[in-house]
C-alpha cells in the first residue's frame, strides 16, 4: 500500500525539519511544473506502508495572490493527496489556524502536527489538544521537530487517517447572510457535474465570493456561468464590495472567539522581543528608527569601506604603472595598463562597499529587524503603489543600484518585484554624486549644494511617479500591490558564520556577473578612446578628438543639442553608460587633467563654457535619469530574466531623462535664463 501525503504550513513552523525527520533527509529536489519554486519529495516506510511525502511551499493562506499559495492549493485540489499534514506553530495558534480553516473548507483529509510544543510550554501556554481535535474534527499530534519528538505518533495518525478516508468534517459558519448566499451558489454549482466531481462546491462558492481569479476562470467554462454571475452581482449589494476581507475577518473571529477560548490557557509573559517591538514597531517612532538605522548602514557601507577601495585602487594603479614601464610596445602597454589593470581596478573598487552593505544587511536580517522594517513601511509604500518590502531596495539604491536590484528578491509577488526593479535606477546612486558636485560647483555657484540636493529629491519623486504610472497603465502591473503578510521572527543575535555566509552568497554574485560586464565595458571604452591608434596618438600626444569616441560624441550631439549639450557632454554621457563614475573621468580626459583635480576641472569646465547654469542643471538631471549603468542593466536582466523588461527600463529612462532635461531647459529659458 502506498499513500500520498502533502506537508503544508506557514513559513518557519518547522516544516522542512518534519519533512527531514519523516524521510530521513533523503529528498528528491526539483521544480513545480512550469514554475521556479522548489519541489521536495521523499519517501517514508512505516508498518510496511510506503508514504510518498510532498513538501508544499510555506504559505499563510490558500488564496490565489501568490505563486506559493496557488501551488499548494492546486496540489491539494487537483492531486487530492490521501492525507495533508498541516504543521501548526503551537506558540502562535491564532495565525496558524487560519490556514487550517481554509484546508477544512477544501475538504482535505487533515492531520495536524502541533509543532514547537516545547516553545509554547516555555511561553506559558497550555493547549487542550483533545478539545481542539474535537472542535476541528481532525487528529492532532504534538511534536517537537528539532528533537524528533512525536514523529512516530504522527506517522501512525497519518496511516489511520488515510484508512479512514477523511470522514465528516465540521462546516465553518460565516454567519447567516454569508451562509445563505454560499449555500445558494453551491447548489447552483452542484448542477455542473464536471465541476462538482472535481472540486468541493462550498469551497468554490466561497472563492467566487472572494473574487478568486482562478476559480472565476473555472466557472467561465461552466454551463451554469450565467446563473452564478447573476447571483454574484446580487451578492455584492448585500455583502458589500470587499467580501474577501469580510470573510477573512470572519475566519479570525471564529478562531479568536469560538476556538481559542476553549483550548488555550495561560498568558504569554513579556519577552525581550515584545519589549524591542514596542519601540521598533511604534506608530510614531517605527519609521524614524528605521530611517536612522538605514543612515547608519549607509555610512558603514560607504565611509568605512573607503580605505579598502583606496587600497584596491592603489594596487591596480601601481600594477598599471609597472606595465607601462616594462612593456615596450605602446599598444600592448596601454591595453594592459589602462584596459586590463585599469578595468579590473575600476571593477574591484566597488567590492568593499558591496560587501559592507551586504554585511550590514545580513546583520539586520539575521537579527530579525529587516522583517520589522518592511512592516513599518508597508502602509506608506502601499499608498504609493509599491510593496512594503520595496522600501529596502529603494533605500539601497541611494548607495548602488546593483545590490538594490538584487535586494528585490525579498518581494514575493513577481509583479511587485519587477515594478520595484523598473523604478529602482531612478534612486540616485553614489556614483552619480561626483557628477552633481563637478557640474554644480562649475556652474551653479552658491546654489551648488541645493542643486545636488534637488537631484536626490527629483529621483525620489520620479521613482514614485513612475511606479504609480506603470501601475495604472501597464496591464501586467494593474491592480493593487499584494498585501504584506510576513513572519515577525523573535529577535536573535546573528552568528558570525551565518552573517558571513549571507554576505558572501550575495556579494559573490556581484563579483561573478556585474564584474564581468563592467570589466568588458571598460575594455570597450579603452578601445574607443584609443583608436584609430595613429590618429589618437600623434607624436607622443593624445588627441582624443580623433578617437572613435569623439566621432561617436559628434554623432550623438545633434540629438542632445536641443538640451544645450555639446559633443563632449554627449561622449561623457556615453561613458556614463558603462559606469556613471566615468562621466567625471571623461571630462578630466578632455581637459587633460587628473580626475582627482576636482577644483581645477570645475574651473576648466566653467572657462570652456560647456554648460550654463541652466544646461548644467539639465545635464545633472539627465545623468540622474538616463540609462542605468551597464552593471545595473546586467543585474536587471538577471533578476527579471527578461530582455523585454531590461530594454523597457533602458528606453523609458532615456525618454524620461530627455523629457525632464528638455522641460528644465525650456522652462528656464521661458523665465529668462540662458
Amino acid at each position: 500500500m502506498e499513500i500520498k501525503v502533502a506537508l503544508i504550513g506557514n513559513p518557519n513552523v518547522g516544516k522542512s525539519q518534519i519533512f527531514n525527520n519523516l524521510t530521513g533527509g533523503r529528498a528528491h529536489v526539483g521544480n513545480w511544473p512550469g514554475k521556479t519554486v522548489e519541489k521536495k519529495e521523499g519517501k517514508c516506510l512505516h508498518r510496511g506502508i510506503e508514504m510518498h511525502i510532498i513538501d508544499l511551499p510555506g504559505t499563510y493562506s490558500l488564496t490565489a495572490h501568490s505563486i506559493d499559495e496557488l501551488i499548494a492549493r492546486n496540489f491539494i485540489v487537483e492531486e487530492k493527496p490521501d492525507v495533508v499534514i498541516d504543521i501548526i506553530d503551537a506558540s502562535n495558534l491564532e495565525r496558524n489556524l487560519y490556514l487550517t480553516l481554509q484546508l477544512l473548507e477544501l475538504e482535505a483529509n487533515i492531520v495536524i502536527a502541533l509543532n514547537k510544543w516545547d516553545i509554547a510550554k516555555s511561553l506559558g501556554y497550555e493547549i487542550d489538544v483533545k478539545e481542539l481535535s474535537k472542535l476541528l474534527g481532525v487528529p492532532i499530534i504534538p511534536t517537537i521537530a528539532t528533537e524528533n519528538v512525536g514523529m512516530e505518533e504522527l506517522k501512525e495518525a497519518v496511516i489511520e487517517a488515510a484508512k479512514a478516508k477523511g470522514g465528516r468534517k465540521p462546516t465553518i459558519s460565516y454567519g447567516k447572510p454569508f451562509d445563505e448566499i454560499i449555500s445558494k451558489i453551491a447548489s447552483i454549482l452542484q448542477k455542473d457535474e464536471n465541476l462538482s466531481s472535481k472540486y468541493p462546491v462550498r469551497w468554490l462558492a466561497i472563492k467566487l465570493l472572494e473574487s478568486d481569479e482562478e476559480v472565476l476562470k473555472l466557472v467561465e467554462r461552466s454551463p451554469c456561468k450565467e446563473e452564478v454571475m447573476h447571483q454574484l452581482s446580487e451578492v455584492k449589494e448585500v455583502l458589500g464590495e470587499d467580501v474577501e476581507t469580510a470573510l477573512a475577518e470572519k475566519r479570525y473571529s471564529i478562531i479568536g472567539e469560538a476556538i481559542l477560548p476553549k483550548v488555550l490557557r495561560g498568558a504569554k509573559p513579556l519577552t525581550l522581543t515584545d519589549l524591542l517591538d514596542k519601540a521598533f514597531l511604534s506608530k510614531h517612532l517605527g519609521i524614524p528608527i528605521f530611517l536612522a538605522l538605514w543612515w547608519a548602514l549607509f555610512r558603514f557601507t560607504f565611509d568605512v569601506s573607503t580605505p579598502f577601495s583606496d587600497l584596491i585602487r592603489i594596487v591596480f594603479s601601481k600594477l598599471g604603472m609597472m606595465a607601462s614601464m616594462y612593456i615596450s610596445d605602446p599598444r600592448l602597454a596601454s591595453f594592459i595598463a589602462d584596459g586590463i589593470f585599469g578595468g579590473l581596478g575600476g571593477v574591484l573598487v566597488f567590492l568593499p562597499p558591496i560587501f559592507f552593505l551586504f554585511l550590514g544587511l545580513a546583520l539586520l536580517e539575521d537579527s530579525g529587524y529587516l522583517a520589522r522594517a518592511a512592516f513599518v513601511m508597508d502602509r506608506a509604500m502601499y499608498k504609493l503603489g509599491l510593496h512594503g518590502r520595496s522600501f529596502i531596495p529603494m533605500l539601497i539604491g541611494f548607495g548602488c543600484n546593483v545590490p538594490a536590484v538584487m535586494a528585490t528578491r525579498t518581494i514575493d509577488k513577481e509583479e511587485d518585484r519587477i515594478l520595484t526593479i523598473l523604478v529602482n535606477p531612478l534612486m540616485s546612486c553614489s556614483a552619480r554624486l561626483p557628477i552633481y558636485i563637478l557640474i554644480g560647483s562649475a556652474v551653479l555657484g552658491g546654489y551648488a549644494a541645493a542643486g545636488v540636493y534637488s537631484m536626490y529629491i527629483l529621483g525620489i519623486v520620479l521613482a514614485v511617479s513612475m511606479a504609480l504610472l506603470f501601475r495604472k497603465t501597464i496591464p501586467y502591473f494593474k491592480g493593487k500591490p499584494s498585501w504584506l503578510i510576513l513572519e515577525l521572527p523573535m529577535y536573535a543575535i546573528p552568528t558570525i558564520k551565518s552573517t558571513l555566509i549571507h554576505m558572501w552568497e550575495r556579494g559573490r554574485l556581484f563579483l561573478r556577473k556585474a564584474g564581468t560586464i563592467i570589466f568588458l565595458g571598460i575594455i570597450a571604452v579603452w578601445f574607443l578612446s584609443n583608436y584609430p591608434w595613429e590618429a589618437v596618438h600623434e607624436e607622443g600626444e593624445v588627441i582624443l578628438e580623433n578617437s572613435y569616441l569623439a566621432m561617436l560624441g559628434k554623432h550623438i550631439e545633434p540629438f542632445l543639442s536641443p538640451l544645450g549639450f555639446n559633443w563632449m557632454a554627449a561622449a561623457a554621457l556615453f561613458f556614463g553608460f558603462i559606469a556613471k563614475e566615468i562621466v567625471v573621468g571623461a571630462f578630466a580626459t578632455f581637459f587633460g587633467l587628473e580626475e582627482e583635480a576636482g577644483g581645477e576641472l570645475s574651473e576648466a569646465l566653467r572657462t570652456a563654457g560647456i554648460f550654463t547654469p541652466l544646461t548644467g542643471l539639465a545635464f545633472m538631471a539627465f545623468s540622474l535619469i538616463y540609462i542605468p549603468c551597464i552593471a545595473t542593466i546586467g543585474t536587471i536582466y538577471r533578476e527579471t530574466g527578461s530582455w523585454k523588461w531590461t530594454i523597457f527600463t533602458v528606453i523609458y529612462e532615456l525618454i524620461l531623462a530627455y523629457a525632464v532635461a528638455f522641460i528644465i531647459v525650456t522652462f528656464g529659458r521661458l523665465i529668462g535664463y540662458a
Partner: protein, 167 residues
Amino acid sequence: MKQRVESRWIVIYAMILGIAYVILGATEFTLGIYSLFSPMDNINFVGVISADIFGGFAAIVIGATYLSATSILRGKYESWGYILVGLFLSIVYGAIYLLIVCADGLEALLAYWGGEGEWTWEWLTSGTAGPGLLRPEIWLFLASLPLAYLTLGALRQLNILGKGKTL
C-alpha cells in the same frame, strides 16, 4: 519599593541622555540645512558639532526614543523597550563613528605610504565623521554604557530577560 526607586533613576538617566541627543541632533540638523543653502563651506559649531542633516536626524531619533521611556514610571513595563532600543541606536552610532575615524586613519596611512604627503594625526580630530574622535555621538555612546548596565540589571530583576514570570 527598591525596584521602583531604581527604575526611576534609570528613567531619569535615560531622559538626560535623550535631551542631550535631541539638542545635539537639532543643532546638527539646523547647521546641515543652513549649509545646504549656503556655499559649500565646512560649517561647525564650537568646533565639534558639524553640519549633518541625516546624522542630526538620527540623533534626534535616538533622543526621542530615550524620552519615550518615561511611561515606565506609570507602570508600563513594555516601555523598557524604548530604553533598550535607544541604547542599541547609541551603540550603533557610536561604533559607526569610531569605525569611520579608524577608516580615516587607514586612508591617511595609505596616503602616507603612497608618498602623498607627511604623516599627521589630523585624522583623529578632523575627517569624514566631522570632528573625528570629538564627535559628540561617540561621547554620548560612552555615557550610555552605564545606562546599559543598569537597564540590563533592572530587567533581570524584573525577570524579563529570561523565560519567566508574567508581568
